[in-house]
């Protein structure tokens, strides 16, 4: 039995040969890569808007395309929810009619409660009678999400849903997306080249370049690899899952733990024992050869250097803390001064930690 996605197609000079796991678990897979890497081609192929020359697409044990067996399910019959980068709401229909467009054609019994749930999840109640023309960019994105959700899709494909929005609008939508991810059990493919979005939403990551899959794996493993991120996309730094150990109201701090490592961060509004996703940017990690005694940083963590990649003025240093990994970005001058090389024990000084909104139950 074939699973996941394998695509081969040629469009002019562009050639796509990509295979990755998708569609059999309710998790968010980020499809990451520079423009022209083939992300939109993959989305269109999975949705059925484009027929690849060869390969297969299996989503939720349903074969939607298989060139060997001559299977090609039309876009109309695939039940793949697609949220387009340019939104594409129907201008002549109200928000309500837009939301119900796919549902009415799904041939499925979905009760009014389901509609109410999606309307509540995305905060659309006040918009139902309005026309898309009168909505803000963020509101339109939410309606597009709701429209795709209400068709009862096998999988949801989000093609850079936030790319057209400015930073405040993005900040407005991200919490809705996080709730969506948390509360629905639909496999999602999230196309983006914004690592901050991926860090908050995704579980897995497929890195694409020039029509090929360069790497695939859990988000935690991918973001600490030194070989994947260059140029326009500097290495994002570590994304980790930590547990809330205890709160320290007197200082307004919370103690988190991952593996054997303890972290002190500004108060997190979660109960003790809850899991939180944290992000430690490469720029926020300093290195010392000996434990510094008088520093302002709360978090000084013993670690071992596992790999180094120097590139011009900067060097990315991969550190191991038990099972977890961190990245520190330092100057090549410091690298030489400290004579860092793999195997050397160091102390990592963490200047700041981003505690992102996603819980894992």
């Amino acid at each position: 039995m074939k699973t996941g996605v394998e695509l081969h197609c040629t469009q002019g000079a562009f050639r796509l040969d990509a295979a990755f796991t998708f569609g059999n678990a309710p998790c968010v897979t980020a499809l990451f890569g520079p423009s022209g890497a083939g992300k939109t081609t993959i989305i269109h192929a999975i949705a059925g808007l484009l027929r690849p020359q060869a390969g297969h697409i299996v989503v939720g044990n349903e074969t939607l395309f298989d060139s060997d067996r001559g299977v090609f399910v039309s876009a109309r019959e695939r039940r793949i929810g697609l949220v387009f980068q340019d939104v594409r709401l129907f201008p002549h229909l109200s928000v309500r009619a837009n939301l119900l467009y796919g549902w009415r054609r799904s041939g499925m019994q979905i009760n009014a409660d389901t509609v109410d749930q999606v309307v509540a999840l995305l905060g659309l109640h006040a918009l139902l009678e309005r026309r898309p023309r009168t909505l803000s960019g963020g509101e339109r994105s939410r309606v597009a999400l709701g429209r795709a959700l209400l068709m009862n899709p096998r999988a949801l494909l989000l093609d850079e849903p936030l790319a057209a929005l400015d930073a405040p609008r993005k900040a407005e939508i991200l919490p809705y997306l996080e709730r969506l991810v948390r509360e629905t059990k639909i496999p999602m493919l999230y196309v983006s080249h914004a690592l901050d979005e991926i860090a908050r939403l995704a579980d897995r990551m497929v890195v694409l370049d020039k029509g090929r899959v360069v790497a695939e794996g859990s988000l935690f493993d991918m973001t600490v690899r030194l070989d994947l991120f260059t140029g326009a996309h500097p290495i994002p730094g570590a994304i980790l899952e930590a547990a809330v150990v205890r709160h320290d109201p007197a200082h307004g701090l919370t103690e988190l733990a991952f593996g054997n490592t303890t972290l002190i961060v500004p108060a997190v509004s979660r109960g003790e024992g809850d899991k939180v996703r944290i992000r430690i940017d490469a720029d926020d990690v300093m290195l010392a050869l000996e434990r510094p005694n008088a520093v302002s940083a709360n978090n000084v963590l013993p670690a071992i250097v596992t790999a180094i990649r120097a590139d011009g003025a900067h060097a990315d240093v991969q550190l191991s803390l038990g099972s977890a990994k961190l990245i520190a970005r330092i100057t090549t001058r410091s690298l030489d001064r400290l004579s860092l090389r793999p195997g050397i024990p160091v102390f990592a000084l963490i200047k700041s930690v981003t505690v992102g909104g996603r819980e894992h139950g």
Partner: protein
Amino acid sequence: MAEMEGILTAAEWEALGLSLRVASVAVLADLPFAFLAALLLARCRFPGKLLVDGLVHLPLVLPPVALGYLLLLSFGTRAPLGAFLLNQLGIRFVFSWTGAALASAILTFPFQVRAIRLSLEGQSAGLAEAAETLGAGPLDRLFSLHLPLAAPGILAGAVTAFAACLGEFGAIITFVSNIPGETRTIPLAIYTAIQTPGGEQAAARLAALSIALALAGLILADWVSRRMRALVGQ
């Protein structure tokens, strides 16, 4: 009503009513065919498309009198087609207001096709893709998406065609003659008045009526098309 009748003579009222009836029937009868032709030209590629495009636009450049003559040749009661329609179906076009409507419909067909085609070609392919992923088939998309979005274009074409119908003269007088109360529309009534000694006043009244009709039509069309565009969210 008595006062209204004072403005125009009974025969002139008759010409006005007839003009409106001929134009309405011509426009409505054209509409489905014009939409199909526009859809064909906007969305399909097929051999001979240039020829079909040319045929659709032919009435724009053909002398109306020539068309009237061709219609007379085809639909005259002694012509095979005309005889068949009369004997088998009881339909007669010659010397009847329906013939005037037929001639007007053919002559104004291109106006409707052009307007509808433009509004179909202006629709983004992206919306159709979105509808497809949401489960809509081709016919479904036609009625739920393309037709409503083309509504302003359909209306604009209908209004232009209606106005052109009101002015039709050559094809009507050649095909169905100038029969009071049957085929004498406003332009034919003006022509008759000019030919009649002492008819200048009547001709002037009818000409003024034509201008009023045209202006009212344009203003109405503008207003309705604004409303329509707002309705379809443009």
